[in-house]
Symmetry: C2
Subunit: 796 residues, 2 copies
């Protein structure tokens, strides 16, 4: 992997005069559209003298990054035409949409998707007016933008999305504009290392163009203010081959950009050809471009004596006072006319054929490339029968197993059956999470250096399809990019640290919610998140690793896309995973711990239970055919075990107590049917949970989440236990006691809440409290829980 | 800023034979302690043959990073002694605590803080047993660890914490071990750029030691498997001067490390002296070390035929089967004895004086340095009188102002009064957030390159004290490091993107909760987070910028440290900010939008209102002296305005309707007093909110949060409106309507819930619905809301 001379290819002039002229004209047309959509609601081609009434009342939008984005876009167009490339375009800079919407419109895709935005003067007017206008579209590359798989509303994920798109798409070149603002974020800073996971044979390529636009909202960007040597060192150090295109004279810059992009494409092709001819994958030094161009390039140089072009003042609306300042209005007109729209649009308002010819055709247009509407390419996963991985459970709650281990076997076989459209992601933890069976079929991708000891069970391979890196951000970004381009995946991660990607979850959920309203966006595979190493088993990790709060975040997003499952055992986990891997446009969050746990349901019972999402476990209940005294609920693996153990003790103390035992797998069943598609109707809810009997609900997460879901239900006699932020280095039972989700606390809760037990239960309560104290003493003396509790099984 | 030759200083031998021997002996003692604390509960100095009963039943702990951490620690000790340095030590690698706890114990601090962990055999036994043992301490550098300000339970923040500690501590050298696992995370990857914010005159230094330990749990680390040239390029590109120490022979490595660390310290001093002599600050190329040493260094080379030292198998407990495998037990004894504890501990079990002499003394010990117990150094902020920034409000709800602007003035003067222990942090948004008055006193720190246009209002200065970078992770990390070392700060950020630091919030809240239980940890200043650019004002940003869900996360953490305030106007915001900036050990979240808003309370009323945290606004109520028909609640600036406007309309429709209007500033007042120190007693709650009258609660965030806080209250007739995830490019009123927090929806809610209005209100309801439709039409036509709604004031 040699390092080449970094070159500013300024002396090359690959464009002949005609081509240069046309390319520049096309760019002028783009810039005209980008500027005009910020301002105009009438008079779209300036066929009348510009007047205030032509201008939107409220000026919203972002000019700064737009010319540079169009510049990249149309230079890629040139190469798509020249080499028949298959490419998509991701725009990382915040609010650069005008620079992308412009070429998308010019190549006709916008009109194809939104027929009322015709390619004529009236269509242009509508196209302009809707931009950043109530009821219209935003100033990011939102899902409404044809060709976009990356909105960029929150910064930092463009590069990881790009890599996700490139995986297993050997012919695709993902062109990704990285903003120099977003380049300061952590997720972006580590995403440059994604090049160590790009397989030159089976994957496509990512061509990052770092846009040194120079400024954020009010500040210079860090990367635009370090030395050229530092920039070159930094990207060489990240393992890239950087090329620099720098300047502000459009004619010179067109030549430089054309030469540099051509060089990059040719290097990409040569890396791929070499690897593919030899059949040996190793890490390559892929090319990238650093484009240093002025912010607000070609816009007003000065406004009111203040520098605008090449300064942060160009970030949003360069001439903000056109309504009140006659001079600014004139300046706006001059600026817009400087792009000479009259030359590029014909009488009808349509782009002239000479320029139209520059755009790629059909599906080669980046805006119409099906990879950017990945649902079109999605093939359903070939699924093994999940029943084949289920374990024998002859009697409920009499045996134990590792809950995630059989899932590893199922994932292994899914990987086997879907060799080029399924990936498993994890931050260095798939073995720790007991999913390691998967390595029998596909090891961990490793393209960097090898050492002799890697043979010894390192599970590394240059052809592995499991992606592990210690960055949840990068993994989630890859995963999203992968499903957005029509493929499938599975991501297992530590419960406490899934919060690292809270914000990415929010953004993806919002993306999906908007897609649900866009019939032209074909459904994509769901994001499947297995949350494991959960709060209740942190014996050696302690307090920092105890956080079940991701669920509280999940429930905030659109019910159209949010799903939460807490399968209590192996067979329920398999049934749930099968369902999730077949689903579309959802974010499925599955909570299941990786360690040994009691097994409850046999195959048929598990499938039936998971299909219903919740249900009474008759074998654990004593309310046969009558209204119970109390409803005991378990939700989650460990909470279910403790709730059952409490039930068992209560039976001993109070043989005639009528307990109904319910287990909840599908958390959204708790919410009313009007609020979530999985919500249970009120009548079904009442018949299960009763209208007024005490419910003691033992929950995996923070207890108030259950109140949040069920507050509209008739039964207000709901008492929830869950994690209440008490913990340290504890044995499992001690941790349960500290948070009162343990069997003793639950039994006491029942005694306190069933009126007829309140007097006769005093003795039992004291005995339960003594047992709690005894358990803690034992743990502190021996470092482990009493075997009788650890190995507890249903005693009846 | 020149780049030096990177040197592996292997040829230098700064240690004479005696010093080398002693240093190595000290390291052996450390390694003995680190290994022994993982295994032993008895026989701490191996004075009896090792038997199974001496060994903890459950073996938990992490050996892998420990020897390297002790190695760095004691080499820093040497320089502290030699140059009388003032240093603290941050351990980034996960689970490296044994390698830090060992030298902390040996230098006596552990015993001073925990007297029952004496410096004798019994003290050692207790010290060993408590490690990773129920009721004991964890395997991270938890708050219980003297000298720690960084637990490292979640990875990625060591470097930003280190910089926060170094700011405004000109004499301090923060030694920070960065794990090569955590170096893959985004937050860490961008934190290397913090060197562009370190002021060589007024700040101290950060000496990062990147520990190329080679492996994570199960995988090689990326940075350990790229070429040396790439490593050098990467860190040069980040602007550092990297030095490499590589090998596994302890005697050679001691010399290398001693030479390299000495060189680094001397470069740090020379950079500082030069800048301080000249009085001119510019960006420096600070030194850093890359230490490549085997994982589990000096531990078992092989176990059962598998490579352990220098491999991922050394990550946790290298000999895991000592209870069942006699051979492993023997191997353990040999391993432990290889450190020759009998030579380093005297008859009593105390470190021998020759070695004791190697540790720094008193407060120069990194474990006893007061900077690592920052509350000891904390001076209360000198505060201006917040009343001086309050605005005149002659009548409630009759005028408007920008809510955050006066706060900017107050922060400006706090900055003026506290020139070396107060910082303001923001991701490129302080001007956008209207806090720019602060620049009158202190501009934005900028040490990188300048351009001529920076003079033009760029607000940059090499001596600025406002820190802006487009990385919420880095800002929060700096802020935490800054307060953990005894200073104060303020962080203003976009509401939707505060989720970027969800996980950091979780970790800091957990740190603080544990500190509350440690009397020796002096209270530190609170984290003050101003959440602005809120969900309700995203006219041009759209759906991705709408997310008030951070509060749902905040409420999950310990009530001892969580505080949430939603001041509705300028004067309440000032009163709240004043309170927060004076508080300790809390995380204060203040939600306030930056734009023009209606003003409600004059100075005295605001102070009284904020002190109570909530209260009835008599001027907006019509229930004088009697039980109301309905309680209308506003919580947050915009929801309060809409709730008031609804109240005003209801008065017109139903002149005899008895409305009580309540505003809530301190959100935790909603929760019972038993659950949060700010919780309102049930009797006070009932007298304010009534026991059964309908409450229409208009909330800033997701509505269910109010149910979560108030579900135990008697009044179940609670109806909450808030953000329900509906939005796009909307005018403010249109967005309110979409989420039903608008005046019309609220008035309809009241009509629906007050029994006697249900029939007579039909006409009013229809009229309200018509008005909603009309508002939406107007917005879609004009791009703005009707002026009568935008400029609404209280009409009575």
């Amino acid at each position: 992997m040699t390092k080449k001379n970094n070159t500013v290819t300024s002396t090359q002039t690959p464009l002949d005069e005609q081509e240069l002229k046309q390319l520049h004209a096309y760019w002028c047309a783009c810039n005209y559209l980008a500027a005009a959509m910020i301002y105009l609601q009438e008079n779209p081609l300036l066929r009348q003298p510009l007047a205030k009434e032509h201008i939107k009342k409220r000026l919203l939008g972002h000019w700064g990054a737009s010319p540079g984005l169009s510049f990249m876009y149309i230079h890629m167009n040139r190469l798509i035409n020249k080499y028949d490339l298959n490419s998509i375009f991701l725009s990382g800079p915040g609010h650069g949409a005008p620079g992308v919407l412009a070429p998308v419109y010019l190549e006709g895709t916008y009109t194809e998707v939104y027929p009322d935005m015709r390619e004529d003067e009236e269509g242009l007017r509508r196209f302009f007016k809707q931009f950043s206008f109530p009821g219209g579209i935003g100033s990011h590359c939102t899902p409404e933008t044809p060709g976009s798989i990356h909105e960029g509303g929150e910064l930092g994920y463009s590069l990881s999305h790009a890599f996700g798109a490139a995986f297993d798409n050997p012919d695709l070149i993902v062109t990704v504009a990285v903003g120099d603002g977003e380049a300061e974020t952590g997720p972006l800073a580590t995403a440059w290392h994604s090049n160590k996971f790009l397989h030159p044979i089976r994957d496509g390529a990512v061509l990052p163009i770092l846009h040194l636009n120079g400024y954020k909202i009010n500040n210079p960007t860090l990367l635009s203010r370090i030395t050229g040597q530092e920039l070159e060192d930094l990207f060489s150090g990240y393992g890239w081959q950087p090329y620099f295109v720098e300047g502000d004279d459009p004619m010179v810059m067109h030549q430089q950009m054309a030469a540099t992009m051509e060089r990059c494409v040719s290097e990409i092709q040569s890396i791929q050809q070499q690897a593919r001819a030899g059949g040996n994958a190793s890490r390559a030094r892929w090319p990238m471009i650093v484009l240093r161009s002025p912010k607000g390039w070609t816009g007003p140089k000065q406004v009111g004596g203040h520098k605008v072009e090449g300064y942060w003042r160009a970030h949003q609306v360069p001439l903000a006072n056109v309504h009140s300042d006659e001079q600014q209005l004139q300046q706006l007109e001059q600026w817009l006319k400087s792009y000479q729209p009259e030359l590029w649009f014909d009488q009808q308002g349509k782009l002239i054929p000479e320029l139209k010819a520059l755009a790629p055709k059909g599906l080669r247009r980046m805006s119409a490339n099906p990879h950017a509407n990945g649902g079109l390419l999605r093939r359903d996963l070939l699924m093994p029968d999940f029943r084949d991985y289920m374990i024998a459970v002859t009697e409920p709650a009499k045996s134990s197993a590792m809950n995630t281990k059989p899932l590893g076997c199922m994932l292994r076989d899914i990987m086997r059956l879907n060799s080029n459209n399924f990936r498993v992601f994890g931050p260095d933890e798939n073995t720790s999470n007991k999913l390691d069976a998967i390595y029998e079929v596909s090891k961990k991708l490793w393209l960097a250096d090898y050492k002799p000891e890697d043979e010894q069970g390192g599970e590394l391979s240059p052809d592995g399809r499991v992606l592990e890196m210690l960055s949840e951000h990068t993994l989630e970004g890859w995963f999203e990019g992968y499903v957005l381009t029509g493929r499938h995946g599975f991501f297992a991660t530590y419960e406490a640290f899934v919060h690292v990607i809270d914000s990415m979850y929010n953004q993806h959920a919002k993306w999906l919610a908007i897609c649900e309203e866009l019939p032209w966006r074909a459904p994509i595979a769901s994001i499947n998140l297995l949350i494991t190493s959960t709060v209740w088993r942190q014996d050696h990790n302690g307090f920092t690793h105890q956080d079940p709060g991701f669920l509280d975040l999940v429930v905030n997003k659109s019910p159209l896309v949010t799903r939460i499952y807490l399968p209590p055992d192996v067979n329920c986990l398999l049934s749930t995973a099968d369902h999730c891997l077949r689903s579309h446009n959802d974010i499925n969050v599955i909570v299941a711990d990786k360690q040994m746990h009691v097994q409850y349901l046999d195959k048929d019972a598990a499938i039936k239970h998971c299909t219903k999402g919740l249900g009474i476990w008759e074998w654990a209940s004593t309310d046969k055919g009558v209204e119970p005294d109390v409803v005991m609920v378990g939700c989650g693996d460990i909470p279910t075990k403790e709730a059952l153990a409490a039930t068992a003790m209560l039976r001993e103390y109070f043989p005639d107590l009528k307990i109904r035992f319910i287990n909840v797998v599908d958390l959204f069943r708790m919410t009313p049917a009007e609020e979530h598609p999985h919500g249970l109707s009120d009548s079904d809810f009442d018949s299960l949970f009763t209208k007024d009997k005490p419910i003691v609900f033992n929950f995996h997460g923070y207890p108030w989440l259950i109140h949040r879901l069920a507050y509209r239900r008739a039964n207000k006699n709901l008492h929830v236990r869950g994690y209440i932020e008490r913990g340290n280095i504890n044995t499992p039972l001690e941790l349960a006691i500290d948070n009162q989700i343990d069997r003793f606390s639950l039994a006491i809760d029942v005694i306190d809440r069933v009126p007829r037990l309140q007097v006769i239960g005093a003795h039992a309560k004291q005995s339960l409290r003594d047992k709690q104290i005894d358990c803690r003493h034992y743990a502190h003396e021996h470092g482990v829980d009493k075997p009788e509790h650890n190995n507890w099984v249903w005693p009846f």
